[in-house]
């Protein structure tokens, strides 16, 4: 700590140069935090999905194609039931409330089995009972209800481009998802109500069920897809994780792009900081020689210059990090509320950014520090800068 003043004064020796370097670093770091957070948010479902042994049965031609209602009988049959249970029909309604900007996840589901199948959603008994009573009933995630100011008993209408009907839903209660608050941005209503509105056309988007164990998943895939292989509606059975990954795949190789950006950001940050530290060290050749004459060891000189590089990187991290935390985690600003109802800077993202800052700072300062520490004292004293 006793060297901190010397390090700080040296870092601030040329305030404009240091300011521009820190400003540039801070901007790049903000970009890194933003993109990493976007990726984390997109992958959040994939991570949560991996915790469960749920499977989705979808049309092999894609989610836009419905599945036949007759398949339900087979899925409830003995052969499938040996490996899976808690079957549920689920249709993505894709609706919005009042205005297109109020778009959120809303799905029609078989309500009796919902609570068991999606056990991470905590639905109180009285809400579940009320849902069973009211055909047009809907359960809403607590966060979504708070967002739109919905109360229990309130009636809302949903509009959708995918269905010709307009469900008029009565909110029967809220559910919470303590393990992942993002899932509270959903609304579920009854599949039988949707089917009634669609004049009993028995449209099924996907079937979901729970495998009895992880080992049963490949069996279920084999049995179900094998059964439908030669039918007019062949299926593709996937795990919930694979189902979530499909959406990531639709967006292309985002991980690759993010990796490229992280490497690019680190490289530019390193070069910027290296330039500043090198210029600063070059201006101080004589001063370093004087310090060594006073008794500072090579190791101490190395420490002083490396710490200076680290300090620049650290400030370049802390400024955008505190700004981003304030913006996204405290004020809950989202760059796109539809895609990212939550936009949290996760601890993992902070660790990544800190790692980038640390490596960049050390890399940037290492060569100037090493050269300064290794230079002969008499050469340094002779140098005229």
């Amino acid at each position: 700590m006793k060297y901190l003043r010397l390090i700080l004064r040296n870092a601030l020796r040329n305030k404009l140069r240091t300011g521009l370097t820190v400003g540039g670093t801070a901007f790049l770091m903000f970009v890194l935090l933003f993109i990493s957070t976007a990726l984390t948010e997109m992958e959040a479902w994939e991570g949560e999905a991996a915790k469960h042994d749920r499977i989705a049965i979808q049309h092999s031609s894609g989610l836009a194609n419905p599945l036949p209602i007759e398949l339900e009988n087979f899925l409830r049959g003995e052969e499938v039931s040996r490996h899976g249970h808690q079957l549920q029909k689920m249709n993505w309604f894709g609706g919005w409330w009042q205005d297109r900007s109020n778009w959120f996840a809303n799905l029609a589901v078989d309500h009796p089995i919902h609570r068991e199948l999606w056990s991470e959603q905590k639905i109180p008994d009285d809400v579940q009972a009320r849902w069973a009573e009211v055909k047009s009933g809907a359960i809403v995630g607590k966060a979504l209800a708070e967002k739109f100011g919905w109360k229990v008993g309130q009636r809302i209408s949903l509009l959708s481009n995918l269905y010709s009907c307009v469900p008029e839903l009565e909110i029967v209660g809220y559910f919470t998802v303590p393990s992942d608050i993002r899932q509270e941005q959903q609304l579920f209503f009854r599949w039988d109500y949707l089917d009634e509105l669609m004049n009993g056309r028995k449209i099924v988007g996907t079937y979901w069920m729970s495998a009895r164990s992880a080992a049963d998943v490949p069996k279920l895939k084999e049995i179900i897809d094998g059964h439908t292989r030669n039918s007019s509606d062949p299926t593709e059975t996937v795990t919930e994780k694979e189902f979530a990954a499909q959406f990531m795949a639709m967006m292309g190789n985002i991980k690759g792009v993010v990796f490229f950006i992280v490497v690019g950001v680190m490289l530019i940050m390193t070069l910027m900081t290296a330039n500043t530290v090198a210029m600063s060290a070059r201006e101080r050749v004589t001063e370093v020689a004087v310090l060594r004459t006073l008794g500072f060891t090579q190791g101490k000189i190395l420490f002083l210059i490396l710490t200076e590089g680290l300090l620049l990187s650290l400030v370049g991290l802390l400024v955008p990090l505190s700004g981003a935390l304030l913006l996204f985690n405290v004020w809950k600003v989202s760059p796109n509320p539809q895609w990212f109802p939550y936009f949290f800077i996760e601890p993992g993202t902070i660790v990544l950014a800190a790692g980038v800052a640390l490596v960049s700072g050390l890399l940037a300062a290492s060569i100037p520090a090493w050269l300064s520490a290794r230079r002969k004292i008499v050469d340094g004293l002779r140098q005229v800068v």
Binding site: K2, R9, R13, E287, L294, G295, T297, K376, V378, L381
Partner: protein, 226 residues
């Protein structure tokens, strides 16, 4: 007779530039007694500063041995030499070489950062050193806010703050006006007489040399009087 504070025996220094060898010092023998002040004179390029650097342990001789404060410098590692300098050497440069981003107080405190002294103890030592050079009223001034003479006095305070065994001054008055030169010479004399500090001073100035107890002359890398 007391052990000499500096003992230089058969020292030679040869610089190598590409394949060329440039002899700078040849077969130098010199002893300095404790509390003695020695002026080292000679024309430019005669090797005065090189010899001073060798005694300070910031350069190594090609041949010969140097002992300072009873410690043989040859064979010491870089780390050991650094420790030796911080303990025994107070170095005064011609161009003061203060750190421009630090105040007078902080510049004088620098060598003490290498010790285990507490902040309060460091402060006491710094204030004592600045009191000796008469600059306690300039502690918060940066080098750019001081005159040349004041800067050199701060540099002297930095050199004495650790109470070193010997002071080595490389043309300490070479960049000063007459009045400042006199002030610095009086100060060095006081450090020698009052505080019994051994001093070796490289100088071109006969007046500065006259303030020392003994003068040695170097010519073409050899001592002509010792």
């Amino acid at each position: 007779m007391a052990e000499p504070v500096v003992s230089v025996r058969g020292v030679a220094k040869i610089y190598r530039r590409d394949s060329q060898e440039i002899p700078v010092l040849e077969n130098i023998d010199l002893t300095v007694a404790p509390g003695e002040s020695v002026a080292m004179m000679g024309p430019s390029g005669s090797g005065k500063t090189t010899l001073l650097n060798l005694i300070a342990g910031i350069d190594r001789p090609t041949r010969g041995s140097i002992e300072v404060a009873g410690q043989a410098l040859d064979g010491m590692s870089e780390r050991e030499l650094a420790k030796f300098r911080s303990r025994h050497i107070g170095f005064i440069f011609q161009l003061y070489n203060l750190i421009p981003v630090l105040t007078a107080f902080e510049n004088v405190e620098l060598p003490l950062l290498l010790t285990r002294l507490s902040k309060a103890e460091r402060r006491t030592h710094v204030m004592t050193a600045l009191d000796v050079v008469g600059l306690t009223d300039r502690i918060a001034h940066y080098p750019r806010q001081l005159s040349g003479g004041q800067e050199q006095r701060v540099a002297i305070a930095r050199a004495i703050v650790t109470d070193p065994t010997i002071l080595l001054a490389d043309e300490p008055t070479g960049d000063l006006d007459k009045r400042s030169e006199e002030e610095v010479l009086i100060l060095l004399k006081r450090l020698n007489r009052e505080f019994k500090k051994a001093i070796i001073m490289v100088t071109h100035d006969p007046k500065a040399a006259a303030s020392a107890q003994r003068t040695v002359m170097l010519e073409k890398g050899a001592l002509v009087t010792a």
